[in-house]
């Protein structure tokens, strides 16, 4: 009988460690699951015996998960790493992937979708025996999709761009479905390709996924490339410019309605053009306030050494507003007073992230 794979689980929560041990040892490959409650102990165990996989929490006392992963990447390059965190923050996901982890899962998602988690881990454990190269790449999404199709892969690509999450289903090198931002099929695929940056991960294939895309992947990639070229170098024909502008406005209005926001004002840096507004009239004064609020908050943050400005939230009896700095722009997003306050930041970030794509 083959020696079972060894998995090390690192978490400062003893109950979680017990639960993980019980759950992981029931996986089809019946791995040998060990646990460690501190980074120091985990590193000592990794030094003393070979492990196939490390499952690591992020929030821990003394040495946090990101520090552990940085050390592990350097000292044990063969070790597969998975982050299992309770922190629903895209920044941590990006930072973990930047450190070269193989998978990032939220604990809550893992509990909701244990079957998918098990498949992901099994494919990771198995992949180590197949050899191959791994590393951190910075490639365009088109390249990644073309590579997957050329190698006739069956996989699900999960693409994350800040608060936006999308999925692309590939079966035997053929594109069968895509989902993004409430859209599905070819429209979703085009939308995903318009994203300028993000992180991606491979999830196990879903062969039973219903096919919604019948066009070939090359035809869709070509259409997207043409659309992106047209956006980057708009035709000089006035009708064409008007049409493109009209399409963009319709798309943004649809975005606003879908998220349930009342209005959006995108304010460029001083002297860098006019504010763009949707859903509100005579927005000049609000645009001025947005620019001022972002500037005052940034300056104050620097003076009191409070770290970078995340956002400014405000409300009165009639509305709730959110000021979000994004690149060289500041956004003011207005919401009705009935929108739950705890969902405002996520929804506003999603809207802002979609705005320019």
């Amino acid at each position: 009988m083959d020696t079972p794979y060894k998995i090390l689980v690192l978490d400062d929560d003893a109950d979680w460690l017990d639960l993980s041990r019980e759950m992981l040892s029931k996986f089809p490959s019946q791995p040998d699951v060990r646990t460690a409650s501190s980074a120091k102990r985990a590193l000592a165990m990794l030094e003393s015996e070979p492990f196939r996989l490390l499952i690591c929490d992020l929030k821990m006392p003394r040495m946090d998960g990101l520090q552990v992963l940085a050390i592990v990447r350097r000292r044990f390059p063969e070790l597969r790493t998975v982050v299992l965190s309770g922190l629903e923050d895209e920044e941590f996901r990006s930072r973990a992937y930047a450190l070269g982890v193989d998978l990032f899962w939220l604990k809550i998602d893992m509990q909701r979708n244990i079957k998918m988690f098990a498949e992901c881990l099994e494919s990771l454990l198995g992949a180590a025996t197949d050899g191959g190269f791994r590393g951190i790449q910075s490639k365009g999404l088109m390249d990644i999709i073309q590579m997957e199709c050329l190698s006739r892969s069956s996989t699900v690509l999960r693409i994350t761009r800040g608060p936006l999450v999308a999925k692309i289903w590939l079966q035997d090198g053929e594109l069968i479905d895509a989902e993004a931002d409430g859209a599905r099929g070819a429209a979703a695929f085009q939308r995903i390709l318009a994203w300028k940056s993000g992180t991606f991960e491979n999830l196990p294939a879903e062969p039973n996924r219903q096919r919604t895309i019948t066009k070939s992947v090359n035809a869709l990639l070509l259409e997207s490339a043409q659309a992106m070229d047209e956006n980057a170098n708009p035709s000089l024909e006035p009708q064409s410019i008007e049409d493109a502008g009209h399409r963009k406005t319709i798309w943004k209005l649809a975005l606003l309605t879908r998220e349930g926001a009342e209005f959006v004002i995108a304010v460029p840096a001083e002297g860098a053009g006019e504010p763009e507004t949707l859903g509100v009239q005579s927005a000049e004064q609000l645009a001025v306030w947005t620019r001022r609020a972002a500037a005052i908050a940034r300056t104050l943050g620097e003076k009191i050494e409070a770290g970078p400005l995340s956002h400014v939230a405000a409300h009165n009896l009639e509305k709730q507003v959110m000021v979000l700095p994004h690149g060289d722009k500041s956004f003011l997003v207005g919401w009705s007073p009935n929108t739950p306050a705890n969902s405002l930041l996520g929804k506003s970030r999603k809207l802002v992230a979609s705005w320019d794509s």
């Binding site: 004064q285 609000l286 001025v288 908050a297 104050l300 050494e305 400005l309 400014v312």
Partner: protein
Amino acid sequence: MGFLKKLFRIFRSRATIQPLPAGSLSVDRDGQIVTSTVSSAYPPALLQEIGRDVLVLFREARAAQMPLAEISLHFGSLRITARELRGGAIVFLFPQSALSPTPT
């Protein structure tokens, strides 16, 4: 002894890590601090700056036809929540840890 005193004075004058303010303060309509529960070790000038800036934000929002009742400034390591109080404001300061931010 005199030498050591001089040496410590030099060390004290060097840049040190500024602790984050925690507590609350109230400011009148002129930006003067009326009451404060923030540690007296925290520079009063910076507290005054916080008070004045939130008043400016309230005032300019009113001028932009959007009078606000409450404003929260969220930074990486601090949240400042201010409530409008008859032209002045009451301000709450909540230090945040990167891994455990308090909810909005």
